[in-house]
Amino acid sequence: MHISEGVLSPAVLAGGAGLAAVGTAIGLKKLDYEAIPRVAILSAAFFVASLIHVPVGPVGLHLVLNGLMGLLLGWVAVPAILIALLLQALLFQFGGLTVLGVNTVTMAAPAVICFYAFRGLLRRPGTPAAVGAFACGATAILLSGLLVAAALITTGQAFSKVAALILAAHIPVMLVEGVITLFIYLFLQKVRPEMLEGLYA
């Protein structure tokens, strides 16, 4: 869920922008010039994948896949997600300019955390890797929800109910993302295992 413009307090916006800038700097440092086409085309694929709407009961949820992005890209996921959010702001006017930093942090921080948290589990073939893939997808969404809620609550206590609602809405998304990340992981392992090599780097 993107936070709209004009909602958050200046302190939260500035904090988010600062963190996003640091994360982007680290990501760009780890990104070689040769890798730019690869990373860019992969993030374009993630952008298009996020247009897929998956039915959950009567509503359609769109895929986020930030956990998987973290798994494949590590720290480089931060600039990739920043670019994706900028393009969303430009093409659909979702999110926006001043909230770009905060939205980048809420999406990219979970990606990087999941990269480090589940790398070990995913290196072990068989059931541990499958569990790790599910957990990675689900945890990334949970963390995103928590960060959105935290950004709203630090803006003002008035948002606590909104934050709780948003967090509750993340629970079904979490399960769906977990299942889908698991299947994508299994597919990639079978079809193109070298794509997962970033894990072993």
């Binding site: 993107h2 709209s4 413009e5 004009g6 909602v7 200046p10 916006l13 760009l28 990104l31 010039y33 040769e34 730019i36 086409p37 690869r38 860019a40 085309i41 992969l42 374009a44 694929a45 952008f47 298009v48 994948a49 247009l51 897929i52 998956v54 039915p55 959950v56 009961g57 895929l63 896949l65 494949l72 600039p79 920043l82 670019i83 900028l86 393009l87 702001a89 430009l90 093409l91 659909f92 006017q93 926006g96 300019l97 001043t98 909230v99 008035a158 606590s160 109910k161 909104v162 609602l165 299942v179 889908i180 698991l182 299947f183 994508i184 597919f187 990639l188 079809v191 193109r192 794509m195």
Partner: protein, 293 residues
Amino acid sequence: MGRASVPAGRSAARDGRSTNLWLSSNFSEQANDEEDRFLSPLEEPFSAGASPAHRLDPRGRIVVTALFAVLMAVAQTYAATLAGLALALCCLALARLPLQKVGLRLLVVNSFIFLLWFVLPLTYPGDAVWRCGPLAVTRQGLVYAGLITLKSNAIIIALMALIATVPVVTLGQALHNLRLPDKLCHLLLFTYRYLYVLEQEYHRLIQALKIRGFRPRTDLHTYRTYAYLAAMLLVRSYDRAECVYQAMLCRGFHGTFYSLWRFSWQRRDGVFLGAATPALAALLYLEWGMRLM
């Protein structure tokens, strides 16, 4: 750009048209022609045009919009916010965008704001203006939700009028010109360039699913199918990336893009900046003056 990845023959001809349009700013228009059949959600409906706003130097527009957005985001008074909204509407008039499309966009983009209207008036502490059982709508809550709505829409309208009117390719070059990191600008240009290509790939996969009678439901089969669809998209993007990179090496790529586009700062850009600076200063004065009152 390098082709020859998975479903070669079929898409080669179609993609061939957009080859080497890297540096031309009207690339998006050409892509849109191809996408129209799919009613692509990725179209840039506002970037084409010849209005006064479209003709301004993108760098000036970016700087002014960024300053305006920051000012609006920190504003806490109705006076400054309403003045800001008026300014944003002036910019919209300057950009002569199709109002119906703008309205539709605003409606979709305001979904988060609608959620706030449902919750904030009921939960914000303050004097009740309307009661219904245990629920009380507070005046402060309504005032706050109204303020947020105005701020949010002022920024979005300015964004649409001044920045969404720059084609993304030009925007990438302008950001580079404004001293953003090289790699970030390259990432932006590359990602944007391949969005449309991968969207085509996505539609091809969806068509293949439909032909085989796939109907999305809430079950594991659907989730597995969508997962494989997304995974196939990633695999194809990976293959394509290899080809693209090799093709670029063949053509002597060594980390720089050369642009034939030159930004030229003209008199109208000076006039725009000359009008925007006092307007932004007035907003700032209004905000601080009202806060001190």
